[in-house]
Symmetry: C2
Subunit: 134 residues, 2 copies
């Protein structure tokens, strides 16, 4: 099977500490770490849930997709990330089936490859494909 699991669900938040009062303190989930992700112009809190993670994403600059989403909607689920065996093959297959892609070639970063599918082709869901290459 090419698609292994839900890698993460990304949630746009305006304040990570405030968000943690719900996800960690009230719900009792474990906070793995909070990380600056300058490549995404965001800070991200990683919260494991079973084999997946919730990622609380706080934009650190204006002008990113998450910053715009947050401004327009005030928060909520921003994207759904699926872990696949091979991002390049998956993208080629999707393209051959007429699926609209945001990234036709994967973004490569520290032992992983990522690519986004356009929400117009996925029922309004921004879908990220993720492959561990390290």
């Amino acid at each position: 099977m090419n698609i292994r699991k839900i890698h993460h669900v990304a949630i746009a938040v305006s304040d990570i500490e405030a968000a943690l009062t719900f996800w960690r303190d009230a719900l009792g989930l474990e906070l793995e770490r909070v990380e600056d992700a300058p490549s995404q112009k965001a800070a991200i809190a990683f919260i494991p849930v079973g084999e997946s993670k919730l990622e609380l994403v706080k934009p650190t600059e204006e002008g990113t997709g998450v910053a715009k989403f947050l401004r327009e909607r005030g928060g909520g689920m921003h994207h759904l990330c699926l872990e696949v065996d091979n991002v390049v093959e998956t993208l080629a297959n999707l393209k051959s089936k007429g699926v609209r892609l945001i990234n036709e070639t994967p973004i490569e970063l520290e032992g992983r490859k990522m690519a986004f599918i356009h929400p117009k082709s996925a029922n309004g869901v921004l879908v990220e494909l993720y492959e561990l290459t390290g």
Copy 2:
């Protein structure tokens, strides 16, 4: 640990067959079944991904939350469902911490209990708690 996994991510769709051309036919996920859920005034396609599922939810009547969401946003991720050991205990704990609940007592249905947390308390995410009781 009280929270076991992401049970499902629900995606609002206006047409299940059309949605399946992406999730099943292009992405290659397996369709487990499509089920009428009259209690939710919806038809639901269940699509396993690892230990979780994607649920494509098509409203069959006006006036439900999903129908409104679909009308306003045209689709997208509607709610995030977490499987917990004990919904009643989780709700009591959340309430004691000032979290706003949609259901203060769980909805019981065919071997399972469900309750929704208000998105105002969860960064704009509609969170469902789910317990298998069968």
